[in-house]
Every structure is written in C-alpha cells, then in structure tokens.
C-alpha cells in the first residue's frame, strides 16, 4: 500500500485506513472538516459540494465543483480539494473574518438563513466564479445568466429550503472577476495534479486505480464482477442508499484511453470516461442533440462527474443519453483483455438493466456516425425543470427532403424496461409529407409505443400522453 494523501484546503492529509466505501464527505467530516454537510447522500442537494482541481483540457486547472457524498475518498488520492473552510476564514476571537468574494456576497445579501446549505452553495458558486470563459461569454441561450456571465445552472444541484433562492441569485449575479492576487485563480494557471495509480486493500475491500487500459482489462479479466467506477454518481447512490459494498472497486474515471474525443469524416467518438461537462465544453455545439440534452441532465455538480460510460453502464430505462444516442444511431466500442468490438446501441440493451456487454468488457467510447440528421430534438418530461429524472424522454432525429420525411429515428426512455426505438412511429413518418396531419397521425402511433408503467413520478397514462404530445410539439416548434 502506497501512502494515500489528499490535499484539503492546502494541507496534505494522510487517508490510509479507510477502505473503498468511505465517501469523500464522510472522510472530510471525520477529519473535522465539517463545513461540507450531508443533506441527502444521493447527489441531489449539493450541501456536500466541494471544489476539486481538474484538468481544463488545455494544460491548466479548472476548479470543478462536485458532490462529495458520492465518490469514495480514495478516488482523490493525490488530488486537491478545497472546501468552504479553505475559501475564507470565519471570525475568531480578536480577528475579523476574511471572506472570499463569493462568501462576502452571500453573507451580505441574506444568502444564508439556517446556513446548512450555504457551504455547498459557496463552493458551487466559487467554481462558476472562476470559470475562465464566464465573463467573456454571451448571455446563455436559456437566459438564466447574470450580467456578469454567471450561469445560474451552475447552482442547479444545490437546494435551499429556507431562502427561496432570490438572495442567492443576486449574490451570484453580483460577483466580479477574481483579483490579480487571488490564490485559487493563480493556482488554476498551473496543471492539476495528475492521476496516480492507487491501490488499497483491507478487510473492507480493495480499491485500485489502474495506470492504463491494459492493466484495467487485465484486472477485469481476472475479476469480472469488480465494480467499474467512473463518476460514481450512480455507484455512490447505490452505496449510500442501498448499502452495496463491492469487494473490488476499479477506478476508471481518469484513464486517458477512455477520455479521448475524436472527430473524423464519418464519426464523432466520445470517450466513455469524459464527464458530461467536458463533453459539453469540448463539443461546443457540434452535436445539437447533445447540446439540448446535457443542460437537462441532472445538475452541473453531477455533470462534472457523471460520464456517458456510466450512464450506459447503469443501463437504466430512464437514463437520458440512451434515447438521444439511439436516435443518433450511435454504436459502442467495447474493449476487454481479448480485444475490441463495436455494437450498435440499438442492439445493446437486452432487458431491465441488462446488456450484451460481456463480463470483462468495458465501454471505451461512444461513436456517433456523421453526418447528423438535420432536425433533432430532445424532450425531457420531468416534474421539476432543474435537476430531475425523466418520467419520459423522447429524442428525434429526422431528415427531410422536399418537404417529406426521408428518415426518422426516435429514441424513447421511460416507457419500457429498456430504452427503445419508436419503430412503428418511425415507419409512420418516413415517406410522408411533414405536415400537421402526418404529425397528428404519427403522434397517435407514438402514444401507443412501449409499455409505460404507473409509478411515483408519473402515471402510465401521462407517459403515453407525453409521447403523443412530444411529436405534436416537435412539429409546432421545429423550424425547417
């Protein structure tokens, strides 16, 4: 066992004997760093948010806010964490407080009432404060952006039960640019700590971070039941709420081979371990379907960790990426110790959380064929607009020629045991003129697709109605 060390607020701390199932949050709190709080332990409230030094893709550091309740502390071996306690200091006997600009705005504008959510808000807000392209950016298309370029969606993963959010919004929109001597801004000009191989074994289990893909596939070949851990946004919930304790955890979130993004003449290939935030920055609008999808996927805090590999690896029927990727006719690259293969996503899911992925295989990348269909849309139906799981998700990719639909690809989530293609509806559209009558008759077909269920999110009847409405909406809203 090498020495495990995590830098918290500038101080390196040994984190040896904790096993693979202690979350970063619990570890910080055991260390007496109690500013980060537990509000839900499932990535929903942001009370646990902290900053991590992450690569910005150009050799420097991006201060990235993540939920500390989900990833295991061991995933941060060799990494740098900043908490609300590290951003500024409270008043002490004889010394006034030294507040970070974010903290000052929050304190002065009434941004805290009970204060329990506040350290998490402060961290999420600080990440957006340091976002290098913030001030330069035009007001975001969704209009939820301050005059200082502050994107309110940066706080979509933070809940406050007391304030009603208005003072927090005002605090966020009042922030200026970091000062020239700002320590964290300065730090972000250098490279973040590189990932390093980690290996911890004790009676609670084993945590390994392999150095490369070859080592990973070899390990996975030996122990196919190991838990592959990417952003831990699903796995962390399993651990906290359902108390799963896999004996072997293999961290794959920093494997270079899984973190490429390549564009060729015929395809865009997205590494399975890139986070959704990284995909969003790097693609920069190249795939409009993903551009529509990503801001509706969870919260910024979650997207800063969650990966496509994890979304497909979980195989949830209500995952948001599968419907979109189905409509885009994506394929998956699966790799194991014995080789690599490419599987169309349409053939990937075989049953509720089941897939053709063989034991020992890992998803390496998602390949989206080019050219893209010109008319795409992603409709997510959920109770709450920010950070909610879909009741139903519908993704459309249509090609029109001379006013007729030549190809239609429709992916659906939330209406069957797996994500599915709406094949009957596709047939009802193809070859037909793209007009209201076609939309109406195809919408009636779409209403009957899948076998939706009643649950706490929505009734089966509503889900079916939403399928129908979504095609009507596509026809009304589509600008051709």
């Amino acid at each position: 066992m090498g020495s495990i060390e995590i830098t918290v607020d500038g101080d390196p701390r040994a984190a040896g004997a904790i096993g693979p199932h202690t979350s970063l949050l619990d570890w910080l709190r055991e260390q007496g760093r109690t500013s980060a709080k537990e509000g839900c332990a499932e990535g929903e409230c942001g009370a646990c948010a902290v900053l991590v030094a992450r690569p910005d893709g150009a050799g420097a550091t991006r201060w990235t806010a993540v939920n500390a309740c989900l990833p295991p502390a061991l995933a941060f071996d060799g990494q740098e964490i900043v908490t609300a306690e590290g951003l500024g200091t409270a008043p002490t006997p004889g010394a006034a407080a030294e507040l970070h600009p974010v903290q000052r705005e929050m304190a002065e504008r009434g941004g805290s009432q009970c204060g329990y959510c506040t350290p998490g808000f402060v961290c999420a807000m600080a990440a957006e404060y340091y976002r290098p392209d913030r001030a330069a950016e035009e007001r975001a298309a969704h209009g939820e952006c301050g005059p200082n370029g502050f994107d309110l969606h940066a706080l979509s993963g933070n809940l406050c039960r007391c304030t009603g959010y208005r003072p927090i919004r005002d605090a966020a929109y009042a922030l200026g640019a970091p000062a020239a001597d700002d320590a964290l801004a300065h730090r972000s000009m250098q490279a973040p700590p590189p990932p390093r191989p980690t290996s911890v074994r004790d009676e609670r289990g084993t945590f390994l971070r392999p150095a490369d893909l070859a080592e990973l596939t070899a390990l996975l070949g030996e122990t196919p039941e190991a838990l592959l851990l990417a952003g831990a946004t699903d796995a962390g919930v399993e651990r906290n709420l359902r108390h799963t304790r896999p004996p072997l955890v293999l961290a794959i979130d920093r494997l270079e081979e899984l973190r490429g993004l390549h564009v060729t003449e015929t395809a865009i290939e997205i590494g399975a371990a890139l986070t959704l935030s990284e995909i969003e920055h790097t693609l920069a609008g190249r795939v409009p379907m993903l551009d529509a999808l990503i801001p509706q996927f969870a919260s910024r805090l979650i997207r800063n960790a969650a990966t496509l590999g994890g979304n497909l690896g979980t195989g949830s029927p209500i995952g948001d990426s599968p419907p979109a990727l189905l409509a885009l006719e994506a394929t998956l690259l699966l790799v194991s110790a014995t080789g690599e293969r490419e599987v169309p996503l349409a053939e990937y899911f075989t049953g509720y959380r089941q897939s053709v992925r063989a034991p020992g295989e890992v998803i390496k990348a998602v390949r989206i064929p080019l050219p893209l269909a010109p008319l795409t849309a992603f409709h997510k139906i959920a109770k709450r607009r920010f950070d909610d799981i879909s009741s139903v998700a519908v993704a459309f990719a249509l090609t029109l020629e001379g006013g007729r639909v030549t190809t239609a690809r429709i992916g659906l989530g939330g209406v069957a045991a797996t994500p599915i293609r709406a094949l009957a509806t596709e047939r009802a559209l193809e070859g037909r003129e793209w007009n209201e009558e076609t939309a109406r008759s195809a919408a009636a077909v779409l209403r009957g697709e899948g076998t939706p269920l009643d649950d706490h999110r929505a009734s089966a009847r509503y889900r079916s109605a939403m399928l129908e409405q979504s095609l009507l909406r596509l026809h009304t809203e589509a600008v051709i």
Binding site: E30, G32, T34, S35, A36, G39, C40, E42, C45, A47, T83, A84, E85, L87, T89, A90, P91, A97, R104, M106, A107, E108, G110, G111, S112, C114, G115, Y116, C117, T118, P119, V122, E144, L152, S156, L159, R161, T163, G164, Y165, R169, N240, L241, I381, A382, K383, R384, R385, F386, D387, D388, S391, H456, R457, Y462, M466, Q469, S470, L472, R473
Partner: protein, 794 residues
C-alpha cells in the same frame, strides 16, 4: 428612593414604542452569516468529530404498515463486530413514550406504520450499527392497515377531539343564497425536508447529569420527554440547541423521542451516543404537514357575497395524535382567510392512519384551512360569472366584523390596503390585458395572473404557551450576553434578539453576544413556533434589558445629576435628556456606567419574562380571542403553462406584506421570500406518495428521497420577485411595533396556484371552471388542461 425612580424609568417604555436611533429596524445580515459562509457554524452532528468515543445509533424499521411484534431477538445483532448494545423497550427505566399523551411508544409493541423504528442498535461505527440492525430478528404478525383518508373516513377511524366552529345558522345562510355550489377537495401534505436531518448527541457527566445536544425547536419539551423516558427529574437533564439547519415545525415535536434514544444509550453505556437520521430514515420515520380532505357547500348572494358555508375538514393525522389537535384547530380558525362569512359551520376530525405521525409545519393547519377557501373561490368564480379577484375583494372583512370563532378582525382595513397596493405595484390591470393578448396568439402556451390575500392569526391557540423567559448578563467590561428560550433555525430570531437587546440597552450591536439555547439558562420555554419567536422572546429580552437599564439609570443619574427617568442610553453613550447646566453636555460611556454600577454593588444581570396579554380561548366551544393580532399580506403572481406537458413557469410575483414595523428588514424579507417559495413547492411540486396497494410494500412511502420528493429549486423561483413591506404598519401589541413573519408568507403562494388555474382556464371556453389537484404538478396541470380543451371541443 432609588427603587421608585427605577420603576418610573421602567414604566416609561411601552412594549411597542421605539427609542431614538434604535438598532431594531436596521437591515443587518444574519448574526451567523459569516460562520455560515465559511462553514464554521456548527450544527448538532458537527460535534461528532469533536466527541471521541461516541457510539452511533441506527434504527430497525418496520417493513409492515401495521403489525404486532411477537418476538424480537437481538443475539445475532450483538454478535456483529462493533455492535455494543441493542436498545429495546426492556431498557427503558422510565416511561416508554415519546410524547405526552401515552399514545406514542418509543419502543413499540406494535409497528404502526411502514418505517416505524422498533428498536435501535448502538455501534462503534455507523456501519456496525447498521449491520447490527440488519441482524436483529423480529417476528411480525401483520395486522389490517388503514392508509388513505378515504379508507379512514369509510372505517370511521378517527382520533382526538372533533371540534366544530359555528356562527349563526349555516343551513339558513345556504338557503337564502342565490347561488350554491358544493364540492370535495383532497390535497397533499408536505415533507419539511430541513436540509439538516434530525440529530442528537447525548452524554452523561461525572455527576450523572445528562446533556443532550439536540436539533430541536422545543428544548424544554425535549428535556421533559428525555427525563420521563429515563425516569429522571427535569433538573437532571439539560438540552442544548446550537442552531438548526432548518425547522419549519418539523423539529417542534419529532426530536423528543430521538433525543431520548440517544440519552438512553448514553446512560446505559456511559459513552456519548450520536443519533442522526439519514435522509431516508428522516423522511420515512418523522411526521409531515397534514394532508386534508374537505367536503363543502357554499352559498353566495346575487353579487357574489358569501352567505353560508358548511364544511367538514378531515386531516390525516397518521399513527398517533402528536400535534394534530392544535393543527386542526388552527385549520378551522383559518378557513375564513380574509373573508367574512355570516353563517358558518365548520367541522373537523383527525383520521388515524398507518402513516408517519403528521405534525407541525409552517402555518400549522392554517394553510390547509385557507387552501379550502381559496379553492372554493377559485372554482366558484367562473360559475358566478365574477372575476376571481373581484370576488375576493367583495368578500373581504370590513372593520368591526368578527371571525367565525368570535374574534374582532382588528385592522381589517389593512386587507384592502395591501390588495390595492400590490395590485398597483404589480400593474395588475394592464398586465391582465397583455396576458389576454398573449393567450389569443399562443395556442400551446397560456398565461394566467391571480391575486390572493392572506390573513393569519398570531399567537399559540393554546393560551399557556404564550409566555417566554430570557436571561441577560452585562459583564464588567460592558459586554452583553443574552440567553432566551427561543431557538435559531435560520429564521433570524437570534439576529432580532440581538437587535432588541442593543436597542433596549442603548448599546452598539457589536457589544451583544448570544449564547446557544439551553434549558439550564432559561427554563420552561415554549416551542419556537407559531411565528411567535420574536414576539415572545423579544418581550422577555426587552424586559430583562430594561431591568438592568433601570438600575444603571440610577447609577448614571447620580453622575449626571439628573433624575433617573431623564437618563438616556443610546449607541453606547449615556446622557441626560434635557439636562441643565453642567449635566447638559456630559456624556458617560456605557462601560463607565457599568463599571460604576459594579463597584456600587448593583446587579448586572436579570431574568426577563413576557406573556402575551389579552388572549383567551375555549377549545371546547371553539370561541374566543386566540390571537394577539393578524398578519396581512397579498400577492400577485403570473405563470405560464405549457399545453404539451402541463409544466409551468413562474414569471413574476409581487408581494406586499405586513410585518408591522420590521425589527430586521433583511431577515423579514428572507422569511417572506422563503415562505413564499416553500408554499409554492407545497402547492405545485412536492408530492408524498404512499404505496396504497395491497401488495408487499403497502404503506411504504414511495417518494422517500430527494430524487423522488422534489423541493423547489432555482427553477421555481419566479423570474421576477418583488417584495414590499407594508409601510406605517406599527403593531402596538408587540415588541417594538413589529409583527410575526415566520408563517404567514407561505400562504402568499396561493397566488401561484390560482394563477395556474387562470392559465389552465385559458385553454378552455370562457366560463370554464377549473378543478385543480394539489399539488398542481405538471401531470395534474396537464389533465386540467385536457379537461379545459375538451370543454371547448378542441
């Protein structure tokens, strides 16, 4: 002589009057704001790493909605490494009850709801305690369960009193009405979802004194329950509450049993015991806002004036009585909201169901009572052919009128005043025209705007609770430490109390520090609830400060060579008012006077006390003057509904609210905005769904996590939110002319619900009456839109 003068100085100040340059009324940040933002503020569970050797408690929860526990075997649990002890009924030295009515066993012989804790395991780590709980063997004999209000009503399974509020003859009122409508309305409860879940840490000192740190709104009652469970006297138990990460009523009653578990563990093991519920436990074990069912019959005259109302309200109390009776009383006392109803008969009853024990939640039944009325008006307006805002205006209380329970509606003229002002600020008439234009050109999106008023009674219905104590110390260096019986849960009570003390003593705010709430400082306190925290504790803090100030005035008077009643304390200086000769220009420093007082052996600390005068309430007849005053407010909200999905966007809300003369405007603004958004969550988003099937999971709460029980987020904050405090609104019956603010603003959110109703109506033909479920989730709104579309045959 000195005493007489001191008394004169004391008598000179009234409760409501403010001195010159008061510290109250200044917009200051929350007193812990710097601690909050830096993460230095400590909450109960943050003490854990500061308390080495603490054990962790984990509950074993019933997998049945209702079952007799025929056997409970702990051997296997005790064999789990790290398990130290299993707490069961046999361990209780005192009374095995978490409440005061003997209907709430702490370690039950019968599981009364799915998730009910049947025993607790103590472990060296939380993991050990959890594994231990999983190893406890319980034999359950499932019993029939009652889950829904409909089931309980059909089975006539009720608990507690069934109060009736009547005035006049409801039947006659209905009979003479030109228009009669009737209906039923069942609406959902609300989970408090305080970001900090329930937590307690207990320890026993060398003398056997039990100290419990508890996240509780009611330390005195937590102390009482801990003592009776342990078989101790109250003076052997101290409860301290540092601060809470939210309360909202959820920590008024529910913390007691949980604190008792920690205390019992500490007594039995001699080690500190930490009890902290995780979110799932918190939401499946502890009570919520009561869901209600209402059936009603209402009559209006030709002009839309209310003539008679007959209604039966049935609340879903859950498995035990808890605070359900006072909640129901308050609900019945708020059905009228802002409207005069000449002939009324309101019946209330509490269903007993196999669910968590529903409890206090911001508004305490008031919101439920008022929702019934606002729903009636919203549904009936189109049937009467009267614009809903106009219908509401026509029925407002006029000065001199009384509520159905007999209380004069003092300051009734403020109702039209706040309504006129908010309508003007919101530019209501012009925007109505804009909205009509928008709706005419947008087939798939419709907007609606609505104005709703709030009238909310302030004081505990139960008269005895309306008292408070405080303990104020002035130290020789002039610094001031205040203790009071109220707890801080984010509502800014401590901030206001510091301002009150600084005002009463005439010192700068920086000199006043506040100590955490502890039962050994101020005994026999009431819950910090019913919005009364500032009124009651403010009165007590002010009283204590004025006692000290009066004594200091005597000391200063001698130096200033004036009478004690001419001594003025302000901003840390002590001067003579209207002094002559030498005295006129003399200014003594506060510290100097304090020092002199000490040397003259004048007592520098005081216990303050306050009780609200003029209250009386007969809970049997449901008549009296239960409230000191009413808080008023009104809101205008505009929303947009998407016809494809039923999703809504809150575009703009304007609020005018009456907080009297604000003690602390930034704090009050925060309470208004926060209450409003929380109310909007209750009415549009937050949905408690239980498994009501006959399957295995019957009784299980299905929305038991933040991923399925959705709180308002930034997406529910109106794009524009303007709050204005009613001016010239001093309340002469409360401390420094202020009014309570904690609860009333929640009900301003009715404007959102009624605006949704208007927007939905715009999808249908003119005059279409919209029935809207509550919460009005996107799905509920969508079905209402479909009904509207069908009504217009499109």
């Amino acid at each position: 002589m000195a005493t007489a003068r001191a008394t004169a100085a004391l008598a000179a100040t009234s409760l409501a009057e403010r001195p010159e340059h008061p510290v109250v009324g200044r917009a200051v940040s929350h007193e812990s704001a710097e601690l909050h933002v830096t993460g230095a503020a400590l909450y109960t569970d943050d003490l854990l790493p500061r308390m080495p050797g603490a054990l962790h408690a984990w509950p074993l929860q019933s997998p049945h909605a209702h079952a007799r526990i025929s056997a409970l075997r702990t051997e296997a649990a005790l064999a789990v490494p790290g398990v130290v002890r299993v707490l069961t009924a046999a361990d209780v030295p005192g009374v095995n009850d978490a409440g005061v009515r003997q209907d709430e066993p702490l370690f039950p012989a019968e599981a009364a709801f799915h998730g009910h804790a049947v025993c607790w395991v103590l472990g060296e780590s939380l993991e050990a305690a959890r594994l231990g709980a999983a190893a406890v063997e319980v034999d359950y004999e499932p019993l029939p369960s009652v889950l829904t209000l409909a089931e309980a009503i059909a089975a006539e399974q009720f608990q507690g009193a069934q109060p009736i509020v009547t005035r006049g003859d409801a039947a006659a009122g209905l009979a003479r009405a030109a228009h009669r409508c009737s209906g039923e309305f069942e609406f959902g409860g609300q989970e408090h979802f305080t970001l900090e879940t329930h937590a307690a840490i207990a320890q026993v000192d060398e003398a056997g004194q039990v100290l419990v740190h508890s996240s509780t709104q009611h330390p005195s009652e937590t102390q009482e329950i801990v003592a009776h469970v342990l078989g101790l006297r109250s003076h052997e138990v101290t409860v301290q509450c540092l601060r809470m990460g939210g309360g909202f009523g959820g920590k008024e009653w529910q913390p007691h049993g949980l604190a008792a578990v920690a205390a019992l563990g500490a007594v039995l093991t001699g080690r500190p015991v930490r009890m902290r519920l995780n979110r799932t436990q918190d939401i499946t074990m502890t009570g919520k806002r009561h869901p209600f069912h209402a059936s009603w019959e209402v009559g209006f005259d030709e002009d839309g004036r209310l003539q008679g109302l007959r209604a039966t309200l049935t609340s879903d109390g859950g498995w035990c009585l808890d605070l359900s009776e006072p909640v129901l009383q308050r609900a019945l006392c708020h059905v009228d909201n802002a409207y005069f109803i000449p002939d009324v008969e309101l019946r209330g009853r509490i269903a007993r169901t196999n669910k968590t024990s529903q409890t206090a939640f911001r508004g305490f039944g008031g919101p439920q009572g008022m929702l019934v009325m606002e729903d009636i008006l919203g549904r009936c307006a189109p049937l009467l052919g009267i614009d809903p805002t106009e219908l509401r205006r026509r029925n407002l209380y006029a000065p001199g009128q009384r509520t159905p329970y007999g209380q004069l509606v003092r300051h009734a003229e403020r109702l039209p005043a706040v309504i006129d002002e908010v309508a003007a600020r919101a530019d209501l008439d012009a925007r109505r025209a804009d909205i009509a234009g928008f709706n005419a050109t947008h087939p798939h999106r419709k907007r609606g705007i609505a104005l709703t008023p709030v009238k909310f009674g302030i004081s505990f219905n139960h008269t005895a609770f309306n008292q408070a104590g405080a303990l104020v110390h002035v130290y020789k260096d002039g610094s001031v430490l205040i203790n009071h019986g109220g707890t801080e849960m984010g509502q800014g009570l401590h901030t206001k109390m510091r301002q009150v003390a600084a005002t009463a003593l005439g010192v700068p705010l920086g000199l006043v520090r506040l100590a955490p709430t502890r039962t050994d400082k101020v005994p026999n306190t009431s819950a910090t609830a019913a919005s009364t925290g500032a009124d009651l504790n403010g009165g007590a803090v002010k009283d204590a400060c004025e006692q000290i100030r009066a004594r200091l005035a005597v000391v200063a008077a001698e130096r200033l060579e004036v009478g004690a009643d001419a001594v003025r304390f302000s901003g840390g200086s002590v001067t003579a008012a209207g002094g002559e000769g030498e005295a006129a220009g003399t200014t003594l420093a506060w510290q100097e006077v304090v020092q002199a007082a000490y040397l003259q052996r004048v007592q520098l600390s005081a216990a303050g006390y306050y009780r609200t005068e003029g209250l009386h309430w007969d809970p049997v007849r449901m008549q009296g003057d239960p409230f000191k005053y009413f808080a008023y407010g009104a809101a205008v909200s505009e929303v947009e509904v998407d016809g494809f999905t039923g999703a809504s966007t809150f575009l703009r809300t304007d609020i005018v609210h009456d907080v009297g003369d604000s003690l602390s405007p930034l704090v009050d603004l925060g309470q208004i905005e926060g209450g409003f958004v929380q109310g909007a969550g209750w009415l549009t988003l937050e949905e408690l769904r239980w498994d009501t099937s006959d399957g295995e999971g019957r009784g299980r709460l299905l929305t038991q996590a933040a991923s399925t029980y959705k709180l308002p987020s930034f997406s529910e904050l109106p794009r524009e939110l303007h709050v204005h405090l009613l001016e010239r609104a001093a309340e002469d019956g409360a401390v420094y002319g202020s009014k309570a603010v904690g609860e009333p603003p929640l009900m301003l959110a009715f404007s959102i619900r009624e605006a949704l109703r208007q927007a939905v109506a715009a999808f249908g033909p003119a005059g279409h009456a919209v029935e809207l479920a509550s919460p009005a989730t996107p799905e509920a709104v969508f079905w209402a839109v479909e009904a509207a579309r069908q009504a217009s045959g499109s």
